[in-house]
């Protein structure tokens, strides 16, 4: 009874603490608009440069656009259209003013108006409204995951992998665009197929190819919503690594002075499947003659300096093919999967390490604590890594309260955040755990910060020893009482 009462007061404390986070939860969900919504034609794109980078195994797009307010009133909302399919794979949206980097935050969020509609909008809210007739240069960066298909879909072990990607040569926009061009950057100059379009002006045919870059445009004025589907097929002889789920636990221990990290990956290779099954002889020979392969052989995790006790396991147990180097300048964990991962294969694994608390945890002037950890670490691969679902759980000590957090991850990527109870070793009430769920993140965001502040009263920190003290005393007193009882039995009249 008593414990449950303590528990409920504790919970109420927690809910106070998490008020800040619940508030931000509501702002991250999409705004609902009527089903017939159409973005008002209040802007004109004077000049637009669309840069699509397919150098990594995700697509990074960058739209630099000079917008002009053609309405009579000041405007502060700009809409970017996406297909419903793209919307589910969209991540890491960041908007900046290209001219003035100090201009306050641009908030980008999905607009919810009609689930059935094929066109969905992303709304960008300006820090301050744009006056009529004025113009501003926006830099919109976003990423698309699961963007490619291997073509051919299955190849031999020793063959080169080609990926297929289709997009619109005209940048999709909700507004009239006067002038635009689209550049596509490739990892190599080997681009066997791409859609050709009739040229305009002094260019006979689009696109123009310069090394590993294709340029469609410049095009003249296009109306709102104009599209021109084109597709490219290019060599990509590297693994298409896709992490469908990453669970990252960060456990703070005040008693031990330690911050423990554990990451559980569900890793897939989304590249070409093997047309004939895996052949060890060919693989071993290729290791010498032609080490370049689209199979995933190795991953490197650069960790924060001071990391120690790294481990690498999977469902069956420890994986012995890993190397960990930790010194004053770096901490590098190199792991090899148990088997080379080819297209269509899956390899879930777990890694973890420890670090001294002093590297991540500080005491604040007000008597609380502040924790600063990377939101995402993960492997650093030349070909990139994409994460579909990410769950970061910061497990604070038992009894921590008044939890607040801040992260520099794009707000659009965060789905929900909240405070939970996690029970583990020597816990009576359970530890306070801040859980942040995000989606569609990329290795470009590794190293982005997550800052958490919390209070940790002295009594809460003494809870564990007190519980053990209580149990030990109960045993001693029990022994004394039982001993006395026996004495009474034994005494004769």
């Amino acid at each position: 009874m008593k414990t449950s009462a303590v528990f409920s007061t504790f919970l109420s404390l927690l809910s106070l603490g998490s008020a800040a986070s619940s508030e931000r939860k509501s702002s991250s969900t999409s705004t609902t608009l009527p089903a017939t919504f159409k973005p008002p034609q209040v802007f004109k794109n004077s000049n637009l440069v669309h840069v699509i980078s397919v150098e990594k195994n995700y697509v990074k797009e960058n739209i630099n656009v000079l917008i002009e307010n053609i309405d009579k009133t000041a405007q502060d909302e700009y809409f970017v259209p996406f297909t419903a399919d793209q919307m589910s794979r969209l991540g890491g949206v960041e908007v900046k003013d290209r001219k003035d980097s100090s201009a306050g935050p641009f908030i980008a969020e999905a607009v919810e108006f009609d689930q059935e509609s094929d066109i969905q909008y992303l709304r960008i809210r300006f820090p301050k409204p744009l006056a009529p007739g004025a113009s501003q240069t926006l830099g919109i960066t976003y990423y698309l995951l699961k963007a490619y298909k291997p073509l051919p879909a299955s190849i031999k072990q020793e063959e080169q992998q080609y990926l297929f990607f289709s997009f619109s040569a005209y940048c999709p926009s909700a507004y009239t665009t006067s002038k635009q061009k689209t550049e596509v950057k490739f990892p190599t100059s080997n681009i066997p197929d791409y859609t050709k379009l009739p040229g305009s002006g002094d260019v006979k045919e689009f696109p123009q190819k310069q090394g590993s870059k294709l340029t469609y445009g410049p095009f003249d004025e296009k109306p709102a919503g104009a599209t021109q589907p084109v597709s490219v097929r290019f060599e990509f002889n590297k693994p298409v690594t896709h992490v469908s789920r990453l669970e990252r636990d960060i456990e703070v221990s005040h008693w031990g002075g330690n911050v423990a990290f554990e990451e559980r990956y569900t890793l897939h290779h989304r590249g070409a499947n093997l047309s004939a099954l895996f052949n060890r002889v060919k693989w071993q020979q290729a290791q010498y003659y032609q080490p370049n392969t689209f199979a995933l052989k190795e991953m490197k995790f650069p960790l924060r300096v001071g990391s120690a006790d790294a481990y690498y396991t999977d469902v069956i147990g420890n994986v012995s093919t890993s190397r960990f180097r930790s010194n004053k300048r770096e901490a590098l964990l190199e792991i090899k999967p148990r088997y080379p991962v080819f297209g269509g294969w899956k390899y879930p694994f777990t890694i973890g390490w420890n670090s001294d608390a002093k590297n991540f945890l500080r005491k604040t002037a007000t008597g609380g604590f502040v924790l600063n950890v990377p939101f995402l670490e993960g492997p650093r691969q030349q070909e990139g890594v994409e994460y579909e679902q990410v769950q970061v759980r910061v497990i604070l000590p038992e009894g921590a309260e008044n939890v607040k957090y801040h992260t520099t991850i794009p707000t659009q990527s965060i789905i929900e955040a909240g405070v939970e109870i996690h029970r583990t070793y020597l816990d009576t009430l359970g530890r306070t755990a801040l859980v942040i769920k995000a989606r569609n993140l990329l290795d470009d965001f590794r190293g982005r910060e997550l800052t958490v502040t919390y209070d940790y009263p002295l009594m809460a920190s003494l809870r564990k020893p007190l519980v053990i003290f209580g149990s030990a005393m109960a045993v001693f007193v029990g022994a004394w009482v039982v001993g006395n009882l026996e004495l009474k039995f034994a005494t004769r009249k």
């Binding site: 008693w255 005491k363 958490v452 053990i468 004394w480």
Partner: protein
């Protein structure tokens, strides 16, 4: 979400968190405390009386309590 937290972090740069017992000495401390706890507990077990309850049992329980916590940390389960 509160962007002022980053400043809190910066402001606290001078006071990193340092535990009472450092990682390297945890095992030693835990071992000594547990040894003390078990010997006092053993002494109490051999000679159970009201007087010994505060004299032996309470210190034993205290030593055990902190010893257990530090032993958990020392073996890698950071509680």
């Amino acid at each position: 979400m509160d962007s002022s937290l980053h400043e809190v972090w910066q402001a606290a740069a001078g006071s990193p968190f340092v535990p009472t017992v450092g990682k390297s000495s945890q095992f030693l401390v835990a071992f000594i405390l547990l040894l003390l706890g078990f010997s006092l507990g053993g002494a109490f077990a051999l000679n159970r009386s009201v007087v010994n309850l505060p004299v032996l049992a309470v210190p034993a329980a205290l030593a055990l309590a902190f010893g257990v916590v530090y032993m958990f940390c020392a073996v890698g389960v950071y509680v």
